[in-house]
Symmetry: C3
Subunit: 474 residues, 3 copies
């Protein structure tokens, strides 16, 4: 029995028991899930398809997108499942405490709306996972998730409820946060043996597996950006995201060829940069941008992302010692910042002249203070904000949007760096050197077909000898 893994198991079991106890003490069914609920379940019917689309993105999309590594397919799709299942529960509890218990409610509600929020929250951690993929133990990842969920939910709470900075598809609060938190962790965890790793890289069919993730993310991204909205805001979020992704994809192919000196497409770009158009629209998808603007933003995101993969990722690795396994800076980081800036810019230009009443639906804190009915509604929605904070100008709203973006970057980077320091403690089983990017470190790999080559060097003899090459009898 390997002591390291007993450690993971014991901690996972203890945390799971704590989760159950916290749900028992603090959780209860939400209104429309209560026995003989008086309220109709219509909200379930209209929300469930969006929830399931997002659910596919979290488990199939993120899981398979990360299977591109030739020797890390088991870990990518399995640990993605583990982390998401873990975070779903923890995010419920953390959100319940922040949004209900901290405000004097004895219980937090458990319902479909929070299932969607819990799935969103797990995306934050899975994005960070992409930055440290292959370089961390499952135990480190559980600890990272524990901390990151708390910090990201507090950051979101401050951004949304205190600053009133909207982010319908959570490009700031999820994508940018997850990316920069993960990159900070990756930087701090980096050690001297990093360059000994020999297993990074893909094989032909692992790049095809990865496309399963890409395509499902691509398809359902409109549901991610629109799932939490309703009415005409939701309809616009679907349209804008769909068009942004389409334009981003065409531009990604074009730039992927342009940056290669043989003029060939690069699967890394196609797997990832095609999706940047979804991230870049995440803050503004519900705004009446007009379709052409959504497309233009998608193009810009694709260009930034391809350039990121081609030039910035190698630079970060060699110069700043930030190794970004999945290139989350290019898919979630920079496009997330772009999303925040775009959102702030449109907020600063928002006006009831052009947007009509929608401006107050999208930015409730811009409701004129002389409209007493709506004012009451807004104050109920934003109990943290005093009457003086309502009636913002569009410039003020734009400023708060930028403030939320900056706050997100600060919290994620500082939080990630501190988390990295904790994860470096020897008790959390950091992975070193040639054991990185290799499923054999944490998974039983006994079958044929494990991509083998001369680097050898993986020193788990008991296991290694059971991994013959695919053509063992040649």
């Amino acid at each position: 029995m390997d002591v390291r893994r007993v450690k993971f198991s014991v901690i996972a079991i203890i945390l799971q028991i704590i989760f159950i106890i916290l749900f028992g003490v603090l959780g209860e069914y939400g209104d429309s899930a209560k026995a003989k609920s008086p309220s109709p379940a219509y909200d379930v019917a209209s929300m469930y398809p969006y929830f399931q689309d997002v659910h596919v993105m979290i488990f199939v999309g993120f899981g398979f997108l990360m299977t591109f590594l030739k020797r890390y397919g088991f870990s990518a799709v399995s640990v993605n499942l583990l982390l998401a299942a873990f975070v779903i529960q923890w995010a419920y509890i953390v959100r319940g405490i922040i949004h209900s218990v901290a405000h004097g409610h004895a219980k937090f509600p458990v319902h479909l709306g929070e299932m969607l929020s819990a799935d969103f929250a797990s995306a934050t951690v899975l994005i960070s996972f992409g930055a440290v993929l292959g370089k961390t133990s499952p135990l480190q990842l559980l600890i990272m998730a524990l901390i990151e969920v708390v910090l990201s939910q507090i950051n979101e709470y401050i951004g949304l409820d205190k600053l009133g900075a909207v982010d319908v598809g959570e490009s700031m609060y999820i994508h940018a946060f997850g990316a920069y938190f993960g990159l900070a962790v990756a930087r701090v965890l980096r050690n001297d043996q990093h360059d000994e790793a020999k297993s990074e890289g893909s094989v032909y069919h692992s790049d095809v597996f990865s496309m399963i993730g890409t395509i499902f993310l691509w398809i359902f991204w409109p549901s991610f950006n629109g799932g939490a909205a309703s009415g005409d805001e939701q309809h616009r979020a679907l349209i804008n995201t769909y068009l942004s992704l389409a334009a981003c994809t065409v531009i990604t192919f074009a730039f992927s060829q342009l940056v290669d000196n043989r003029g060939k497409f690069n699967m890394v770009h196609i797997q990832n940069a095609t999706l940047a158009g979804g991230v870049a629209l995440g803050t503004s998808a519900n705004m009446p941008l007009q379709p052409w603007a959504a497309m233009a933003i998608g193009c810009l995101a694709g260009i930034i992302s391809v350039i990121g993969y081609q030039y910035i990722t190698p630079f970060l690795d060699s110069k700043l010692k930030i190794h970004d396994t999945c290139g989350v800076n290019n898919l979630h980081g920079m496009p997330g910042i772009l999303a925040g800036i775009v959102g702030a810019a449109f907020a600063a230009m928002a006006s009831s002249d052009t947007w009509g009443e929608s401006v107050y639906e999208i930015f409730p804190l811009m409701v004129p203070a002389d409209n007493s009915t709506e004012l009451m509604d807004v104050m109920k929605e934003y109990p943290m904000i005093t009457e003086a904070g309502i009636g913002r100008s569009s410039t003020t709203q734009g400023g708060y949007q930028m403030l939320a973006l900056v706050l997100t970057l600060v919290v994620s980077i500082v939080g990630g760096a501190l988390t990295g320091l904790i994860l470096r403690l020897p008790c959390f089983d950091n992975v070193h050197g040639n054991r990185m990017f290799d499923d054999r470190e944490f998974f039983i790999v006994e079958g044929q077909g494990f991509p083998e080559n001369e680097d050898g060097g993986f020193d788990d003899d008991a296991n290694h000898t059971k991994v013959p090459m695919l053509s063992q009898n040649s």
Copy 2:
């Protein structure tokens, strides 16, 4: 022309023609599908997303979950498609006869609700398929499906309509039935040449293919347990199943490491035991268990399932000569029994004090006999049950739930054993020895990449010589 396959083709064609005739004689569009239907099609709008989620589970989920075998990927995903397409039609007919024609209606209705039921019914057969995977001919599987659908639908009819034992996610009537029927078939079919089989086992990428099935089953299981419910019952079914699966997943990883002497995760556990939390909730998902209880049940299911794969499956194989290819006992059998027991326990504790009116919605036969309006409704819903059978106590309801579980086990085991005897008839082309677990027995396999090793021995020379190793030119 191989005589064996003409046999399959001829029988398949004849059965398909019979199906068409029976649909022609007995089937007609249901009310909301009739030309110029007077009734609104709202039920279609609300049910269709659930139907499609279940549809994905049946064809993608079950199909890919079984692709883990290195040389049986074609058969797993293709014969899964064949069997499900076959059973969908046959289950329609059998259910139509049991529920409509046997009660004096000239025709049975064809509508979306029955599409969902037909998909559910196919799950029963696909679970049994998992027990005999690699060891049976397509012809045997058709015959097995013919018999199993009749027996399982009669069992469900007795359980639901005569005994009034509820099972919202069909963990008794589908999961436990399918598992023990299949295991009984597998036991009876076992022959002396079983140990000559050399092709069982996975390769690296076949385990990744299998995860496609796992993840889609995991994602859509809430729709499986909640698809046939409505209102607050449906909402609870979604919440409970979601939380049960999340907790089950964390615990599965923990126990997978605990039971391995090197402390490594086992892909077999992750592919299967992570799903046991969905099965274990199948009977009680719509009940107001409270979220923490759903999570605790999920944990218990995960533990049972991992222990089953690690210790019970090898024991059944070596001691009882029951070879369970996919481990359906661990994913569907024992968790299905757990589901039945949990359902009975909650029934026995059900009370209008704590559950309010929901207790009568969930267990209609507990309606007090002095409530004449509801009594009439219940008598219409349960024409098989006399007025004296209504007004059950919670203990009585719990007893009927247990009775339905026991009946299911008896019918499935006896029925499976008898079916196995029929399938042993030489005319049904049993598969022997080294021909087992090998696609070359029933599929054209001419390309590269078929996992080859020294066992050789597959004696279909005409075909075998066309299957070079992946590295044929090395």
Copy 3:
């Protein structure tokens, strides 16, 4: 820098910029997506699940179905994404001009309904892509898509709006059109070096990847045929397509064995012919055929498709020099013609005696000219048709259905042949000889696992040397 690829990139970027400009000049949000939309967004809630099912078909279904080629997996799934993303935008514009701008509206509406239509339109091009898969450059495909979208949308407009020939699942306007357009292109592009191609064919796991596409297409085909309908028509479309596919699948397996001299199943048949039942119902799915008729049509489609793959495709290749990479003639072409004929036959038999008012809902131009209220509605729906054209007999309607089918075949074949002539221009980088069916022509392929054998011969040395065999160290 390879000049050929700069050409693709530059043209793709220019076209993308033109698309954005055209959306800017001509596009605007549809009513229920407008800021503070007065109309409720109910249509979004009811249509979105169908849209997402179709979306999965386009990107996952078509994309993975084409990954069966052993050395062309990157191209299949990636260029499918590129083409669909490109066509989505272009089809919006072309449809907007045909349906709105050409009728005097300043702008065309951008909403979910048009997103569904744009996805449908992309299917046309992706079907043609299947006929030329492996034999064309990305640049050729962009040009092909530009032309094909215009021709297919004009053809659909004439068929639907001028001839009044209905086609709920677009089997004529999409499937038959796409197939014969693509085959005509393939015929014209064929050159003397065709027989030098050595890379066609599958490997074991590429055939499993392809089944991902098959299964998702199979599952969601009811949504394709029913997504644009509503009420009882939609309900019937779902039922009929589901049953047709189930029957088609059983018959496909039976015939796949019958036509093989060793009596073995052929993965090519299972990947494709199982879907023919969905195509064959595409024109008549919403009609009250009765379930048995849908099943019988599905069987017929399966038989035609298997025979096509087994006998007709080789004949077309060797005798008519039409090389059909994916066999689109067998999956989309002949079943599409069958669908058109079935639709015409049912139209010719339609009668209000048996179908009630549904006959006028399905074939609005059959509304009796003496019903003034409905007449007005129909004239509004068909502004191209004078009052004298309304009140058709069923025979006349059947004749128009056949006329639309014939027109579709003529436009697609002539249009495809002319497009092929354009694509032969040297500037569009036709792919020759042994460079065909090989990802290395347009993609960076540096990892292990690229299926290699003695044919060698791919003369891109700079790249070729970086593609070692999977077992490089044996």
